[in-house]
């Protein structure tokens, strides 16, 4: 081993080292820090603190089969394990998107559900048997790579055909559409799971807090989040706007729409992460997965406090 050529000056290596390094122990190139790296994409499951409360009518009870008529499809949960698939965290997890997976998992466990979280890296196959699929946001090149790999893999499309629940944010939302503009400035095909297409906005990037009213058919409270995107997403006949903005830009089309949805496929521009600011969205996905109208209550004290603060701050920017 030597210095690379072109070193302007070198200290004199003739000087004896006070301690001779023993190559038997470990050579520098086999450097092994004591500190183990944190587990990748596999955080410890949150402890189950929820004690099952008195079930209200129409609530999910883990021991019994869930009622089934809701969406004209059978509940996909064979046992009481919710299969939560997080798609491509190696490419699409730039904006704290892990939070959506953590909140859905937490809210499900608080209802006594077992959760199997499956984090799928972009060199792995997307399983077709998941109950809920989450896709996050990412930068322009990772977005193109993710779209390429998801088109080739087809697992997500097949899962969607089976009626899986899919919730995507920002770059992930654009990928669910028909097409978007990639990092090379070219039109890139999406998965066509939502009838939307995305162009590149000519104006300033949409950055800031958002306040929106969700499509009343979804029965969700006011939506709060943070948007950060250049894309403008246009909605076709096959989808409805997920929400309409009161503050912020949403789809960026100027008509006030934010996100899009049809059946069990949802897209939004909201980060925050959106589930942390809107736990009712996480609950909605769990209800869809169980095919129930209601869930046992789970504490929302801190979410409520955060929501109140963000909603007030967004209405009246400092």
């Amino acid at each position: 081993m030597s210095y690379p050529s072109g070193h302007p000056q070198q200290y004199n290596p003739q000087q004896p080292a006070p301690q001779q390094y023993n190559p038997q122990q470990a050579a520098p190139q086999q450097y092994n820090p004591q500190q183990a790296a944190p587990q990748q994409y596999n955080p410890q499951p949150a402890p189950q603190q929820y004690s099952q409360q008195q079930p209200a009518p129409q609530q999910y009870e883990p021991q019994q089969p869930a009622p089934q008529q809701q969406h004209g499809r059978s509940s996909r949960m064979s046992d009481s394990n919710l299969r939560l698939v997080w798609v491509y965290p190696d490419l699409l997890s730039t904006y704290g998107d892990r939070g959506n997976a953590l909140v859905v998992e937490r809210r499900a466990r608080q209802r006594g559900l077992g959760v199997q979280r499956i984090d799928v890296r972009s060199d792995q196959a997307v399983p077709t048997s998941g109950d809920i699929y989450l896709i996050g946001g990412g930068e322009d090149r990772p977005q193109r790579l993710a779209a390429e790999r998801l088109r080739n893999d087809s697992g997500l499309v097949r899962a969607a055909e089976n009626g899986a629940i899919i919730f995507a944010v920002c770059a992930g939302y654009q990928i669910l559409g028909r097409e978007f503009i990639n990092d090379l400035g070219e039109r890139e095909a999406g998965l066509g799971l939502l009838d939307v297409w995305t162009t590149r906005g000519e104006g300033a990037r949409c950055v800031g807090d958002v306040l929106a009213e969700v499509d009343p058919r979804l029965g969700l409270p006011q939506l709060t989040g943070f948007e950060n995107h250049q894309g403008v997403t246009h909605l076709g006949q096959g989808v409805s706007p997920f929400a309409n903005v009161q503050v912020g830009r949403g789809n960026g089309t100027g008509d006030g729409t934010e996100g899009a949805w049809r059946d069990t496929v949802f897209g939004t521009y909201l980060h925050g992460p959106v589930m942390a600011r809107n736990p009712a969205v996480a609950d909605m996905l769990i209800k869809l997965a169980l095919d129930v109208n209601a869930l046992p209550p789970a504490d929302t004290t801190w979410y409520d406090a955060l929501r109140a603060e963000r909603i007030a701050a967004t209405r009246q920017p400092a």
Binding site: M1, S2, Y3, P4, G6, H7, P8, Q9, Q10, Y11, N12, P13, Q15, A17, P18, Q19, Q20, Y21, N22, P23, A26, P28, Q29, Y31, N32, P33, Q34, Q35, A37, P38, A46, Q49, D90, L91, T94, Y95, G96, D97, L102, V103, R106, R121, D123, E139, R141, P142, L145, V207, G208, F226, N228, Q230, H271, G272, P273, A276, W302, Y303, A305, L306
Partner: protein, 420 residues
Amino acid sequence: MPGTDSEATAAREASLPTRAKLAVTAGRVAAALSQKAGRGSGSVIGGKVALKLDPDLLATLAEHLDVVLVSATNGKTTTTRLIAEALRAAGPVVSNALGANMPAGITAALAGGSDAKFGVIEVDEKYLAGVARDTRPKAIALLNLSRDQLDRAAETRMMAEKWREGLKDTDAVIIANADDPLVTWAASSCRKVVWVAAGQAWKEDAWSCPSCGGVMQRPGDDWFCQDCGFRRPQPHWALQGTHVIDPQRGAWPIQLQLPGRANLANATSSAAVAAVFGVAPQVALQRMQSVTAVAGRYDVVSYQGRDVRLLLAKNPAGWLETFSLIDGPPAPVILSVNAMDADGTDTSWLWDVDYERLSGHPIFVMGQRKLDLAVRLEVAGLQFQVVDSLDQAVQMAPPGRIEAIANYTAFQQLRKAVAN
């Protein structure tokens, strides 16, 4: 010798071209006025005025110096300080030690003048290529790159690309962290590179090959791309436990007053930089021992009869390194998070931080965005208390030294609070 510095400065300024001289003087007047108006040290304003009068001033000031540039997402202020201490073994050093790391602040620091031989300069990542062009450095240390300030839309990989493009023709010796694929990508187009195995705990920004986009394989501490063959270079220097391994395989103990693995890594990179200037690792490391708190970071202060250690963590990689250095449970921990412009206004990054690792600590949560933090900790299944002030947190904290971890402006506020 208080007189020597200003005499040397005067002599040096006399040798500057007229335009540069005027610029330095104008900058000093502006700085003094700004200081009088109560706006901090005024050095950045002074630098701005001076650069406006003479855009070449930075280059002129750097001309007589052996310059080292230090850039990274995390650790650049501390490493700048460590390198400055090490190089003082070989001659006087001028440095922007207080972290004013954009061209105006750098200009002000260099114009602040001394009869320095070395200029050790911390540079904001975004300005590195330009400052490298102007100051013609002998060495550039690249420590790490990771996500920071999400609302800035500055892609981490794009930053690596910008470095790569901006540094490819430099004559400087690049001292680069071989354990960071993005830094490696940035440095690998340079002619002279000293690779340092400095480690990097945070890996979430480099799963995608910076060269071809392939999925990075990361067995143990190695990394490589199966698709294009881009891989971890053989390091010349390494951090091994608490020792620096030099290219001759000499092992030198690191004895720092600064805590944590990240600072051992910073010391390793600093030793590699010092060697470029002929300062031997044992000399460099010995000198680094004198560095205690850097701009208040790691400072243990006494506040209301309690010991409080102030720790700065600006982004997920920084939080991860900080968690690895704090006292174990039941040491009380105060977390403070703001979302002002200087912090980034999007707090989503809280969800990239493994707060689960604070399990067992009594936790107190404060700052502008304490409610975001509260939801994050609730979802992590942790017990915590939300408080309104440092006072309240300290009063409620059980015995033991308190670890106070804060992001950028929250940290400045903590420093202010304990100073009163």
